[in-house]
Symmetry: C2
Amino acid sequence: MHNEQIKILTASLKRLLRRGAITQLVNIIKKTHMADLSIAFKELSADNREKLFALMDDPEQIGDLFSLLDETLFLEFVKTVEFNKLVNIFDHMPSDDAASLLTLLDEDLSDQILSKMQKEESDNVEQLLSYGEDTAGSLMVTDFIALEEEVSAKQVIEALQNKYLDVEMPFYIYVIDEYEKLVGVSSLRQLVVVHPEKPLKEFMAKDLVTVKPYTDREEVARLVARYDYLAVPVVDDDNKIVGIVTVDDVIDILHEAATEDMLKMAGVGEEYIETQTVFRGTRIRLPWLFASFLGGVAAFFIIGGFEENLAKFTSLAAFIPVIMGMGGNIGTQSSTIVVRGIATGVINIQDFYKVISKELAVGVILGVIYGLFIGLIARFAFASESFSLMLSVAVGLAIISSMSIAALVGSMVPLIFERLNIDPAVATGPIVTTSIDIVSVYCYFMIASRLLGL
Amino acid sequence: MHNEQIKILTASLKRLLRRGAITQLVNIIKKTHMADLSIAFKELSADNREKLFALMDDPEQIGDLFSLLDETLFLEFVKTVEFNKLVNIFDHMPSDDAASLLTLLDEDLSDQILSKMQKEESDNVEQLLSYGEDTAGSLMVTDFIALEEEVSAKQVIEALQNKYLDVEMPFYIYVIDEYEKLVGVSSLRQLVVVHPEKPLKEFMAKDLVTVKPYTDREEVARLVARYDYLAVPVVDDDNKIVGIVTVDDVIDILHEAATEDMLKMAGVGEEYIETQTVFRGTRIRLPWLFASFLGGVAAFFIIGGFEENLAKFTSLAAFIPVIMGMGGNIGTQSSTIVVRGIATGVINIQDFYKVISKELAVGVILGVIYGLFIGLIARFAFASESFSLMLSVAVGLAIISSMSIAALVGSMVPLIFERLNIDPAVATGPIVTTSIDIVSVYCYFMIASRLLGL
């Protein structure tokens, strides 16, 4: 459904809820894609949400919905479901969805659910939970098609009609040898194109890109995006296939990774916080602002140190905003370019000197241009004063140094963090802006004091 | 290939190029995935790149490579290719790739290529070029499988084995009626599962999500991501299918859209500029910094207007950085949350008042907290002075007003831009920071002048 259609759906739901038209509501639930319903749910009042959710009955559908809802809504709904029904819902979910939802619940509750689930299902889920949170293992599906090399195309199709009827992503058939090692892959398309009696080993593709269960999920996403795969197999250290990561999960990862990076750079943690309460939103943002607070306090003491000069030369104060602003903005430009460049693979650590020298060059050039502008403004604003020339030179030089240093710091910090294996996005935002603020103000007052003979 | 393997590939290429080992190089080119080779190319010197590229011969492979390269490298290579060979390369490309590459060339050259291409191919490409740049039409492939309702499963499979051998994404079979209108879809998987004699109309899915050729490509990406589709059909106003957009293109769109948003918010245009020259990088960034320059100049005049007060009260200047910094940072937080929220569909315009009142609340709370901190610092730094209390109250109030206004402006501006159909990301960055700088400084000096009786 397009967004307009979802609006219509939401409006109908509201109307029917007001009228208490149970039969129609149940009908809509049955016929609507859970992806659409999950969006409509967000638009309903808490009261209406609960009423509508209570009408849902099919455990498979509820599981689907759960995996699509925001964390807050999911937790809200879980509370209203009776325990045995909850276990039943988790039993019907694909194991990767079950695993990631269980991590959102209280440990007690999630343990209880796991212990009541069907053995095979809970084993799968526990296996997935044992991999780290951001790994291929945590998001792979353990439902895939693996057949031996000797199996013929016709036999594969028969297997698809029986054994593998429930596999989520049946477009690749993985081929294993007698030791269960992964040796090739065939697409569903090849199967229908080759002679029915041909065995897999004669038409499978042999050069496979695989990942390990502990491969970082963003690395997995990059591989799938790079080769336009629909899925990538996850193999253990013996090269046995243990699961596959499918392209729809990759889209989610790429989406989330970009959102996380943007939020981290702006200093708002990594989880999307618009859906959270004012209190939680405040709590998440408070510490990030602390870096900028410390920077401001440092700048306060720096300026305080020059107070005598400032008393003689009040006009100096008026240039503080422009010097900080230009430095801060070019620094943000540089760090955004580098952070995003690293994330998309356009920039590697090997490019260290190339990248920072280019950014420095850009910083110097732009510094000279804007330094001239602002110098001219200073010259004319104080045209009648004897210090006018020196003040304008001082301000111009301050802009040049602030913008050059900012471009350098802005590009260097994320690269250094990347080399130290610290997420460049998380640290870059506050560190870059704060340090640039301090350095800019300090340089400005040093240069001005010298040139004006204070 | 994982990144380490690509490094090894690059090192081998360099070694072989130094030794002039043509046969081995040709062999590597033949066996390497173009996605890997395109990355390796970036790591080679211009000289080596050209040598290696000259060894490529297969037009299909070159076309593949072209569609994967950065714009700069693509243009560099195009210059080295003889015209007839170039036409041949474009003839062998999927029409969506050809269309998007042609837009990168000089109009003269692209017209010449189009006029020499095979009629059918160039017609397809020109059709694609006629849709707007950011539309579904510009990125769809015109290669898809469409069969009539009466065709049986077995007949579809036969068609796959003959007529549709070259279709890029054969996982969906679209079903059309006698007037060529799209009426359903079947997956390749269903085909092998149903009885061979069953006609499509008996097992096709009838509720289809479709888009129009002029649908915005980000809307297409959202739909594919939402429903976990592998492709979405593009239909004209008569509901005739004209193409499909596949999931691999959607991944690219989502990737690009996130990068664009981040760069726009940082004020660096929307194209990735790290790969560009220092000169172009400077030119792109210059105008964006102009907003911040104007803001700085405005702040200069505001502070100039309070110069007499400042002369009496030099200490006021020392608080300028912290007041600007705290306002600027919370404003960036708010606008990032809202811009990304709009992009991911978490925030709608309908949420206008909800979102801005929540952001305002967060701004006020954080303002009070940090206002207290900074007020205390002012109180103690000037403990021995008679004006100490009033100064600390003034600074605290300035922080509260600056942070509250910043959170309000930061969340409001992107929502207003979205309502006016202006891209929220492009305008938000510079506008938000600059206006916050001006307002913060003004409020600060107003409050201080009143309270200190200046």
